[in-house]
């Protein structure tokens, strides 16, 4: 299925949009909050999966672009009164530009050094969020004014839910389009063998750099989505645990596949809530159980849950 994704693949997105508008009328805010949280992480995970699953570039910098997207959208709104419809794309563009700037030097690094250099970049970015008091509010964090989109006031879970669903649907469609396009194939070729790619006329360095940039744009969009339903942001949101959580999501879900990333987000996103309610008396054991789940996932399903299911069903 090449060229524009056929309509059958787009059907589930219609379901998502329907849920996006229907659920706010049915569910209490707690479940809507979880839904918003998962939808934001879905966009974030798809972005990292493009870079790691499709292009095979093992990079940890994703959370830094998520932070840049969040702070940029929030500051544009709070300080300059830029409406969300303009602010979020601008923030995503900024994240993309920085991603491109990081992408070019990063393309010279081999896997383990690329991982460590981008990890260092993410930690340095968090240090900046924490120390640049005048702009990001530093450790005290930043209160986010409820944005309005063309007059429709967002900021609460029920009001943000449909907007998030629309954005997620667009992002999934874009990802489908991207991964079946020539650029998508070029990314896969780089993951499999850079020599084949280069010998087949693919500019390896610029494809990697563009993969970095596009994945950073995804993170910037997720940052914008954060300001839709959260009212406060502080530097801890972009710390080391979030990098690990995001990486675990796409590995457990299944690298290099849209359903895999979404399954991983749903499972590991809801895990803390499930563990908190089920392990009533054993709360202290939660950390140990979370570690065992990660180890179990990579031991028994190296291709992730979706790889496991797809392998079972025989489809690719």
């Amino acid at each position: 299925m090449y060229g524009a994704p056929p309509l059958t693949r787009l059907a589930p997105l219609a379901l998502l949009l329907l849920a996006g508008f229907a659920l706010p009328l049915l569910l209490p805010q707690y479940f809507l909050y979880l839904g918003n949280f998962l939808m934001m992480f879905a966009v974030l995970a798809l972005g990292l999966d493009l870079l790691l699953g499709w292009a095979g570039q093992f990079a940890f910098a994703h959370i830094a672009f998520f932070g840049i997207g969040t702070y940029a959208t929030a500051l544009l709104n709070v300080r300059l009164g830029v409406p969300f419809v303009v602010g979020m794309p601008l923030a995503a563009m900024l994240a993309g530009l920085i991603g491109l700037a990081i992408g070019f030097p990063a393309t010279r690094l081999r896997t383990v050094y690329l991982a460590l250099a981008t990890f260092a970049f993410a930690e340095a970015a968090q240090w900046v969020f924490n120390s640049w008091d005048k702009v990001t509010g530093g450790p005290d964090g930043l209160r986010i004014a409820a944005p309005n989109i063309l007059g429709y006031r967002v900021g609460t879970d029920p009001t943000a839910f449909p907007v998030m669903a629309v954005i997620l649907a667009l992002v999934i469609a874009a990802t489908m389009y991207l991964t079946t396009s020539k650029f998508g194939r070029a990314m896969c070729a780089i993951r499999e063998s850079e020599h084949v790619a280069s010998a087949s006329g693919i500019d390896v360095r610029s494809t990697k750099a563009w993969a970095f940039a596009i994945s950073a744009v995804y993170a910037g969009i997720a940052g914008g989505m954060y300001t839709l339903f959260q009212s406060f942001v502080n530097p801890d949101v972009f710390g080391f645990q979030q990098i690990v959580l995001l990486l675990s999501m796409i590995v457990v879900g299944g690298l290099g596949s849209i359903p895999g990333a979404l399954i991983g987000v749903a499972l590991l996103g809801l895990l803390p809530e499930v563990m908190r309610t089920t392990m009533r008396g054993l709360l202290i054991w939660q950390e140990l159980v979370y570690g065992l789940i990660l180890i179990g996932a990579v031991m028994f399903m190296p291709r992730g849950i979706w790889g496991f299911i797809a392998g079972r069903r025989g489809s690719r």
């Binding site: 030097p105 930690e123 240090w127 675990s248 950390e287 979370y290 570690g291 990660l294 180890i295 190296p302």
Partner: protein
């Protein structure tokens, strides 16, 4: 040289050796199974707690807690490799990078170790192991050093020398190096590759455990002391992530740079230092300061 600078450099060397000890463990794991051990910090933490447990509850003499801790954590490292990593490597699909799955495996291990320690009551308070050798501080000119500091520097150099000797002269050492360079060839000449990988992980874990015991008086034992692995990673990278002497040099460079930044820039920038150093080093020399020329991949 102002006394302030001298003291800063001296203390920087000591903390640098702290990072180097852990970096050695990370490099051994990387050379043997091509993966970054994100649970390295937790192995250090486990070493601290086991050392304290041996000293305070079992009443072992101070010198004996080192082998005790080393053996226990050797088992943890070897078991992790045997049970988890060989299975992940075995089931991996040729071509697909198993690096990601193994990294998540080590992250899982770090949560398991932290979770296990935190379940035991009384681990909430901050604890400290009495120092290996205590006594009045030693004055070298304006510089004041503790016995424990000197013990750490001596230990770092001694362990690095012992490792160098182990890897160059003993049969097991050479087998480990062969396996890490070319597992298939090693297997062909009869080296039990799986046992080698277990030994490498066990050795690295034991090293981290010993570092834990050595650092506990200086670093304080809490379930979250494992965060220091980030600084050890920075030290390892400066050293090129492949060379053992590089680790010690990388650690010392990082320790001193941190103190200089703290003294002359701002104490707030100290926590930024390791990340800047990593990015600068990798930008200038993608294969690290002390590693050889970047090898062109043979097609």
């Amino acid at each position: 040289m102002s006394p302030l600078l001298l003291q800063g450099v001296a203390s920087g060397i000591v903390t640098g050796c702290v990072y180097a000890l852990i970096a050695l463990s990370l490099v051994i794991v990387y050379k043997s199974s091509d993966v970054i051990n994100f649970a390295g910090g937790e192995m250090v933490m486990l070493g601290g707690y086991l050392g304290m447990f041996a000293l305070l509850w079992l009443g072992l003499p101070y010198l004996l807690i080192f082998p005790f801790g080393a053996l226990m954590i050797f088992i943890v490292g070897a078991l992790f490799d045997r049970v988890v990593l060989t299975r992940v490597v075995g089931r991996a699909i040729p071509g697909q990078s198993i690096l990601v799955a193994m990294i998540i495996g080590t992250v899982g291990l770090s949560y398991v170790l932290k979770g296990a320690v935190r379940v035991i009551p009384y681990t909430e308070e901050v604890r400290r192991l009495p120092p290996f050798s205590s006594g009045a501080p030693i004055f070298v000119g304006p510089v004041v050093l503790q016995h424990q500091d000197i013990a750490i520097v001596v230990a770092a150099v001694a362990i690095m020398a012992a490792l160098w000797a182990f890897f160059s002269f003993t049969l097991v050492g050479k087998a480990l190096r062969a396996t890490s360079q070319n597992p298939r060839a090693a297997a062909l000449v009869g080296i039990p590759v799986r046992a080698m990988s277990m030994t490498a992980w066990g050795l690295a874990a034991a090293l981290a455990g010993v570092a834990g015991i050595l650092l506990a008086p200086k670093l304080l034992i809490t379930p979250d002391m494992g965060v220091i692995v980030i600084l050890a990673l920075a030290a390892a990278i400066i050293g090129g992530f492949v060379s053992l002497p590089g680790c010690v040099a990388g650690g010392i460079v990082l320790g001193v740079v941190q103190n200089l930044i703290g003294l002359y820039v701002s104490s707030r920038a100290i926590s930024l230092a390791p990340f800047l150093v990593i990015m600068i080093v990798l930008l200038l020399r993608p294969q690290g300061l002390f590693a050889g020329k970047a090898a062109a991949k043979k097609v």
